[in-house]
Each structure stands twice: as structure tokens, then as C-alpha cells.
Symmetry: C2
Subunit: 249 residues, 2 copies
């Protein structure tokens, strides 16, 4: 029992969910039956995981400029000088789906896993996907600013078609989840119009087309940041699912 | 001039194309005009780059079994006991499109680049995409065995839809290139039928549908290795291009 508690705590530490300096009752003195208490440590003991959607020094001027454009519309000033929520909202981004690691019957399975989100599996800033998503609830739109790093190469000097598909799936999937709750990708129909230069910054704009029962239809355009060059056009279909689908139920 | 030769040689070394132990004439003694001789060092001086399509210890039993199944059909024995080419051919796989780094006007630009092929950008065996492609010229088919590592997560415990799209683009794109010469992806229409468990091994089978002028139509199915479970179905369209398209011409 003590050993399994040790394994769980080490897994937490590896995931960055539990500081190595955290003082815990030594495992050898933990009586059987207290495991649940240790596993459900209150959230203030968990250091903040890295939010990959925040700016870092690898961001170029175009990425930074676009970020500031949308970030400035997340909180606006009223005429009276008071601050209030703006039309856009930045979505934080982590390298695991943490909500599944903080509770539930799959806890032990998930925390022992080394799994990482595909789009955030490289920690070296600027090397792969640098991106940030903003959501506009009222207009039912989602935008993503993407700076495509040197590890995403497909044709020489250009971004891999699969890396572009990955970002399209990420943006439309996140958008569909916000509109319809848990969903799974059912179809992606991607038209590639113009290759994206490696190192370039582009804009992904996702819009709701329609909802029909369990189906959510989303369209997505990838363009240059000024909108003048169209790189891809996509129609995507998502199916609503229950949480038990995701957790192997 | 000596400095630029040094930079070129260092770039070669970083790319693994030139051993650090290789004895070269000291740059300070190299007279102007011999740069071309050094840059075009004969291929026997270049150590063999790593072929990612060969088995490594991270491969599970299913991946290994499928590899041996196709590998054994690459060379067959005749009735007289002599060896001859079989119906299948394994395609080697590197983390750069090396043919563009060994010559041509874009040499200096390419070797200074840190770019890596998206599907081979993580060197840690088993962590991301472990895959090998086999081509059958006579049947105009291509198969790929894929073992999906823990860094490819999308929904908890399952492979990211973008990672699946990436492998589909890779397999159908390679297949189209063998059939039609240089091509670019024009359309990917992917139907996701059943999620792929993280760590699982699947088979991608790509078939020529038709060729019409510059267009090559390919279909691709992703199934369990015994073919009993269908994960995705795809139709893909590729457009033939000239080499100058690729190299920014």
C-alpha cells in the first residue's frame, strides 16, 4: 500500500502537479486507509501548470502583434473608466487534459501515464506549434494565431499538411466543445490552397455553420494574418458524446 | 571565405552529415576557390543517417510481427534457391528530406536550417510516431504499420485526430509521389469511425483510385492490424507540381 502511494505521488511529481518539496507524512507511517486523503490533496498544494497560450521569447513580431490585438479585446474599459469583460476570451492551454487527472475513477490510470497532448508535446519554445486560441461567444467564432516552428516541416521549407490538419482539428474541436459540450471529430474535409512557409505566422478562423441533433458543423479558414492569402478551407463535423465514451466506457 | 566554409562544415556536422572526426584541410590554409571542392565532398565521407523505418527496442510484439510479415516479402527465394526481389519494398525514412541537402542551389540555405520532418521530429524511440512504409508496385498499393506513442494524445487515452491525419497525409502523399512524381496535397477528406487507443498499433492501407491529368486520387483505410476494426476512411487528392514549386520558385 505504502509503495502504491509512493508511486502515485511520484507520478504527480513527474506531471508537475505536486512539488518535490511538498511535505507529506512519510509513507512508511501512513496507515492503510488514508490513501484517499493523500490522493485528494486540496488544489492549493498543486503548483500552477505551465499555460502554453501565454507569450514567450520565441514569438515573432507578427505573433505578438496578433496576440495583443485579441488580448486587448478580452477586457475593455467602459466610459466611466471601469473595466469589464470584452467580446473575446483567451483560452489557456496545457500539455495534458488536467481535469481528468484531478479526480474520478480513472485517476490512478491517468497519473501514471506519460501521455502528452500532441500539439504541446515539445517544450522547447518556438520549435513546434506556438499557438493561442481566442473565443467570441456572441459571434460564435473562434480564432487561433499559429506560429509554425522548424520541427513541423513537410515539403522542404514548408509546413507539413498533417501539422496544418492537426491545428484545424484542434481549433474546430475546441470550438465545437464550447458550443455543444463533449464531442468527437467525425469528419474533416480539408482543401489545401497554398502552402505555409516554415516559421510563418497564420490565422485560423473557425465559425459555426449549423447544429442538427448530435451533429455540430464547423467551417475553418487558414489565412495570412492580414487575411489576404488563403492557405486552407475546411468543413468539419463533430458528434456529441457522453463522458463515458472518452474514458473507455 | 574560410569562415563561411567553417559555417557550412559546422552545419553539416549539426545535421549529422559530416563526422566531427573527419580530417579536413585546415580552413586557414584553404586557398580561395576550393570551397566548391569541400562542399561537394564525396558521399563515402558522409556517415549513414539514421533510418527511422528500421526496428528499435520500443516496438511492441504487434508492430514487430507486422513488420516481419511485410519485410519477408521484400526478398523471396526462387525454386532454385536463389534470392530475388519480392512484391513489397520497404521505404527508408529520415528526419530530413536529405536529397535537397546534398546539392543544388539551395544547399547553403537548407543545411543552415534546423528543420525536421514533422513525423520524425522526436528522437526518443516509441514516444511519438513509430512507423514503416512498404510499397507494392504491381498492385499499386502502399501499407504503413504505425505504433502510436504517448506523445500523440488527443482525447484522454486516445490518439489525436491530427496525428492520424498526419500519418494519412504522409502515407497517401508518399504513395502519390511514387505513382506520379512530385505532388502537393490538394484535399484530404477524412471520416473518423472509431478512436485509436494511445500506444496501439494500426495498419494504414493506401490504394490508387484514379489518375486524371495532374490529379492523383488515393483512398486510405486505417484499421486494426487484423483488419477487423475500421478506424478511419479517407479520400485524398494530390496535384502534380514541378520541383521549382517546392523550392520557392
Amino acid at each position: 500500500m505504502a509503495r502504491s502511494v509512493g508511486r502515485i505521488c511520484k507520478s504527480f511529481q513527474r506531471l508537475g502537479l505536486l512539488s518535490k518539496q511538498t511535505q507529506l507524512v512519510p509513507f512508511t507511517r501512513v496507515p492503510v486507509g488514508t490513501v484517499r486523503t493523500i490522493v485528494t490533496l486540496p488544489s492549493f498544494l498543486f503548483p500552477q501548470p505551465r499555460d502554453f497560450s501565454l507569450p514567450n521569447p520565441s514569438w515573432g513580431s507578427e505573433m505578438t502583434r496578433m496576440y495583443e490585438h485579441y488580448e486587448s479585446q478580452c477586457e475593455v474599459e467602459t466610459e466611466g473608466g471601469q473595466k469589464q469583460k470584452g467580446p473575446w476570451r483567451r483560452l489557456p492551454s496545457y500539455n495534458r487534459l488536467l481535469k481528468y487527472a484531478t479526480g474520478g475513477v480513472y485517476l490512478s490510470k491517468m497519473i501514471q501515464s506519460k501521455a502528452r497532448l500532441f500539439t504541446r508535446n515539445i517544450r522547447n519554445p518556438g520549435a513546434a506549434f506556438e499557438y493561442v486560441l481566442f473565443m467570441n461567444k456572441e459571434e460564435q467564432k473562434c480564432v487561433c494565431i499559429l506560429q509554425a516552428g522548424h520541427l513541423l516541416e513537410g515539403p522542404p521549407g514548408h509546413v507539413h499538411g498533417g501539422a496544418i490538419a492537426t491545428m484545424i482539428d484542434t481549433v474546430t474541436g475546441t470550438h465545437a466543445t464550447f458550443l455543444s459540450g463533449p464531442v468527437m471529430t467525425a469528419n474533416l474535409n480539408i482543401n489545401y490552397r497554398r502552402p505555409i512557409p516554415l516559421g510563418g505566422t497564420v490565422l485560423l478562423e473557425s465559425s459555426l455553420e449549423k447544429k442538427e441533433g448530435r451533429k455540430t458543423f464547423i467551417t475553418c479558414r487558414v489565412t495570412s494574418t492580414d487575411g489576404s492569402k488563403l492557405h486552407t478551407e475546411t468543413s468539419a463535423l463533430f458528434l456529441s458524446i457522453t463522458a463515458s465514451h472518452l474514458l473507455g466506457g
